[in-house]
């Protein structure tokens, strides 16, 4: 469903992604690990369509369509979702209004009628349960005054509402205590099905105990330098990244 070929991307003239390749099939979970500054968050931003990054080469094929010319909102409506590492606080915009606008934008994109108010609220309730997000939070402004854990739960809640076919979780585990991590991971696992795929970006093996990946990739210096199965993550946890860096530089 997703094929990234020779992707190169700059920010402010500095090249961050240097010919990245990645292939993901329906139903797969891919973990991306790597040292700080290797380009993990850039990759997630570029997939989501953030304009401050300039793509200089390559392609991103999603459901047989090159999405590089699509806007961020078009990509979202095509079925891509980015769970932010640092979710943004938006004072004055309630989560309910935010999600109603988002859900109906997607329905409009797919030429479906907007949800009625009661159907929408029903959907909200159902998905809130999934991530144990309380009603009082949903009535508040988007992420405003939320704890780190609440913000991340809110990301997964939004994902549940929008039912993407590809979700990129950008360090969703950062800033979470064990209980919140479990709730977030359970939410993701409940949403998993044979048709949707995940890219899980993380620094820690711990998250992968809860969300078990089919493949693990190491991103370093703007490229995927090593791929393996979930055992690779355990090996990284134990040995760190130096041996991978050595391998890469000795090539």
């Amino acid at each position: 469903m997703l094929e990234i070929n020779n992707l190169r991307a700059n920010i402010n003239g500095k090249e961050i992604l240097k010919g990245l390749n990645l292939k993901i099939k329906e139903g797969e979970v891919h973990a991306i690990m790597g040292p700080n500054g290797s380009g993990k968050s850039t990759l997630s931003s570029v997939i989501a369509g953030r304009e401050i990054f300039e793509v200089t080469a390559g392609e991103i094929i999603f459901h047989n369509k090159n999405i590089l010319n699509l806007t961020a909102e078009e990509r979202a409506n095509e079925g891509i979702f980015l769970a932010f590492q640092y979710p943004i606080e938006i004072p004055g915009v309630s989560i309910t209004n935010f999600m109603r606008a988002a859900v109906n934008a997607k329905r409009l994109y797919n030429k479906q009628e907007a949800l009625s108010a009661s159907d929408f609220l029903k959907l909200m309730k159902e998905k809130q349960k999934l991530v144990e997000l309380t009603t009082s939070l949903v009535n508040r402004s988007v992420n405003e005054g939320f704890s780190g854990g609440e913000k991340k739960k809110n990301e997964i809640f939004q994902m549940a509402m929008l039912e993407p076919s590809l979700a990129v979780l950008d360090e969703t585990d950062s800033g979470l205590d064990i209980d919140a991590l479990r709730i977030v991971a359970n939410g993701v696992n409940k949403l998993k099905n044979p048709n949707n795929s995940y890219i899980v970006i993380t620094h820690y093996q711990r998250l992968l105990d809860f969300i078990v990946p089919d493949f693990v990739h190491v991103l370093y210096d703007g490229q995927i330098v090593k791929s393996g199965t979930k055992e690779l993550a355990l090996e990284l946890e134990e040995k760190g990244y130096d041996w991978i860096k050595d391998e890469y530089h000795n090539k």
Binding site: R50, E51, T71, A76, L82, F84, I88, V93, A101, K106
Partner: protein, 410 residues
């Protein structure tokens, strides 16, 4: 153009009936001769040029009573209606008898001396040219949920209109007044309005100024308010449309424990210019004032906020807060903001501040990454910014009207 030439250039139709008598107008004429229009070197007019407005030839038409109220409003929403048309009072209708409204037969200038101002020339011009005015009283202890409507309709070319409202809210009353200006979109006009409001002890007044002018209308609006002990004021200045809008709002907290909330919103577009001057004087102890003005500027529009809090020597235990926040949507729009605080008492809590910024790019991307189109995402962010002002409107029909007008414009 100097003021004398301007006065001479105004064409007066024969049967125009000035409120003020000939003698007083002669004296005003003498006084105005010595005055000039404000210049940018005047501190309170630094960012607003008025010359081009007074270079035009205006006229005072004859009275035209033709009026279908249903065309403009649903009268059932109001406790009473005062309608000015081209400066003449053509209708006074009171449905709630706790309001007493009479045509103004004489101009009382006692209010003018409360504030020493740089807009005195506009006050005198209003006195000189006024052909219509009303005296409004809200009776003692009257509690009226529907607002009284003061409507300014301008539908003749080149009209100068000088409406004048003298309002007294008697002790313990709790009332709302909505003031709305509606201009025919194809005509050039100049409105120089003046309102004097006195709020007696323990009364509450909600006052809504809804400025929905036209692309070629000019409005000077001067409002002087005196607040007595333990009274409450919530005043909204909502500048929704108009090529040139200048609001002078001056409030004196003249009794122990008085409270004033001042809210403002301006959303200029194209070449519109909105200038808000506010001045609040804490003359007595234990008064609170709270001011929030917000602006969203588009295209090549411009706006000015200049707010001053004056805390006098005797005004101990004052709480006074002022905030002006702006979002500038383009590179060509311009805001000048000047929060100002002067304190002569020593036991007070005061703050003032101003911000100017653009739409938050991070928030915009966040919304777009959920599938919301860029323009809709902008709208959501702008609305949330504006709501901080609009949500303080307690009367739902007015809130709905304002929200609707805003969404049409933005």
């Amino acid at each position: 153009m100097n003021v004398e030439n301007f006065i001479g250039s105004v064409k007066v139709t024969d049967n125009a009936a000035f409120i003020e008598n000939t003698e007083k107008r002669k004296a005003l004429h003498e006084s105005l001769k010595l005055k000039s229009f404000p210049k940018v070197k005047d501190e309170e007019w630094r960012f607003t040029k008025v010359d081009s407005i007074f270079d035009k030839a205006y006229m005072i038409p004859s009275i035209d009573k033709d009026f279908t109220i249903e065309k403009y409003i649903n009268a059932k929403d109001y406790a009473g209606v005062v309608c000015y048309k081209n400066g003449f009072v053509i209708k006074i209708e009171v449905t709630d008898l706790n309001f007493i409204i009479e045509p103004l037969s004489k101009i009382d200038n006692s209010f003018d001396n409360i504030f020493k101002t740089q807009e005195q020339v506009f006050v005198e011009l209003n006195n000189y040219f006024a052909v219509g005015g009303v005296n409004i009283v809200a009776k003692k202890n009257a509690i009226i949920s529907k607002p009284l409507l003061i409507l300014y309709i301008i539908d003749k070319d080149n009209v100068i209109s000088s409406p004048r409202n003298v309002i007294n809210i008697e002790g313990g009353a709790n009332v709302s007044i909505e003031e709305k200006i509606l201009c025919n979109s194809k005509i050039e006009s100049l409105t120089n309005a003046l309102s004097y409001i006195n709020i007696e002890p323990n009364a509450t007044l909600n006052y809504y100024k809804i400025q929905t002018g036209s692309d070629i209308c000019n409005l000077f609006d001067t409002t002087y308010i005196k607040q007595q002990a333990d009274c409450n004021l919530n005043i909204f200045t909502l500048s929704l449309k108009g090529r040139f809008l200048r609001n002078n709002l001056r409030i004196k907290l003249d009794g122990n424990g008085a409270n004033a909330n001042m809210y403002g919103l301006y959303i200029p577009k194209q070449n519109e210019h909105v200038d808000n001057l506010t001045y609040i004087e804490h003359a007595m102890p234990n008064c609170d004032s709270n001011e929030l003005y917000k602006g969203v500027l588009n295209d090549s529009s411009s706006a000015v906020f200049s707010g001053k809090i004056m805390v006098c020597k005797d005004a101990q235990k004052t709480k006074a807060f002022q905030n002006n926040k702006n979002i500038v949507l383009t590179n060509t729009a311009k805001i000048n903001t000047k929060p100002h605080l002067e304190i002569y008492a020593d036991d007070v809590k005061c703050s003032h501040g101003a911000t100017v910024g653009q739409l938050d790019e991070e928030a915009l991307f966040y919304l777009r990454s959920r599938g919301i189109a860029k323009d809709d995402a902008k709208q959501l962010l702008i609305n949330s910014f504006i709501d901080e002002v609009v949500n303080n409107i307690s009367y739902e029909p007015i809130k709905d009207y304002v929200k609707e007008s805003i969404s049409q414009k933005i």
